[in-house]
Amino acid sequence: MSDNTLVKKQNARDEAALLPPVDVIEDASGITLYADLPGVPKEKLTLQVEADTLTIEGEIDLDMPGGIEASHAEVSLPRYRRVFTLSKELDASKVAAEFSQGVLKLSIPKAAHAQPRKIEVQVM
């Protein structure tokens, strides 16, 4: 065992997290991303765009009675995290997010210069 294993993981990025399932759909105007984050209240959802990296993070907060003992757990970690790399034609400054009933909907529009335009073919 090397000494490195003794170093405490302090960075939140190093903490174990569940990978939420997503759907990514692209059309002419941009990309729409849906992510399932059940159990995450709105105030514990964090969305971050840093350079071309999109990070989705959420903390699960369930209403549990005192003295509860788990007998079966399929959701075994209290947080979700997923990171995506955006491509440069997307306008990260105009991301719109909706969150309801544990489903996140992100709309990432394409930058104006990347919008589709028809190219006329000249006949000589």
């Binding site: 759907d23 159990g39 907060d61 369930l62 209403d63 009675p65 003295g67 509860i68 007998s71 079966h72």
Partner: protein, 144 residues
């Protein structure tokens, strides 16, 4: 039923199959309903001396369409999750979220009271709280 991969060189699919095989082999006598892990909705179950608490992680469902039933000590959660159809000119790049009808069946302990059931749906989690019978709750016996 889990089939062998049609593309044996797909390493991730092979690893997935290996993991499932291992899980099945570790369960020498799985329950009659098979290994429930990996189904939709994912469930956590816990208990207190007063109640049995079930959490079903079913995001994005209209609560009125959820069907929760208790019959003969068996709890059934059924419903359907519909997805908005993508527009015709749209491309689906990633498609991982569950879509369609689902049903999960859980056997409850013997000491539950089927009349003391409470179900709530918040943040995409259905929480079902089933009370235990009064007679089954621990009592302190006074010594005369």
């Amino acid at each position: 039923m889990i089939y062998r991969s049609l593309f044996p060189r797909d390493l991730m699919a092979e690893l997935d199959r290996l993991l499932r095989d291992t899980q099945q082999n570790f369960h020498f006598s799985p329950t009659i309903r098979g290994i429930a892990r990996g189904g939709f909705p994912a469930m956590n179950v816990g208990g207190t001396p007063q109640s049995v608490e079930l959490y079903a992680f079913a995001p994005g469902i209209e609560p009125s369409t959820l069907d929760v039933q208790i019959e003969k000590g068996v709890l059934t959660i059924a419903g359907e999750r519909q997805r908005q159809k993508p527009a015709e000119d749209a491309t689906v790049h990633i498609d991982e979220r569950f879509e369609g009808r689902f049903r999960r069946v859980v056997t409850l302990p013997d000491d539950i009271d089927p009349n003391a059931v409470d179900a709530k749906y918040t943040d995409g989690v259905l929480r079902i709280s089933v009370g235990r019978k009064q007679s089954a709750q621990p009592r302190r016996i006074t010594i005369q």
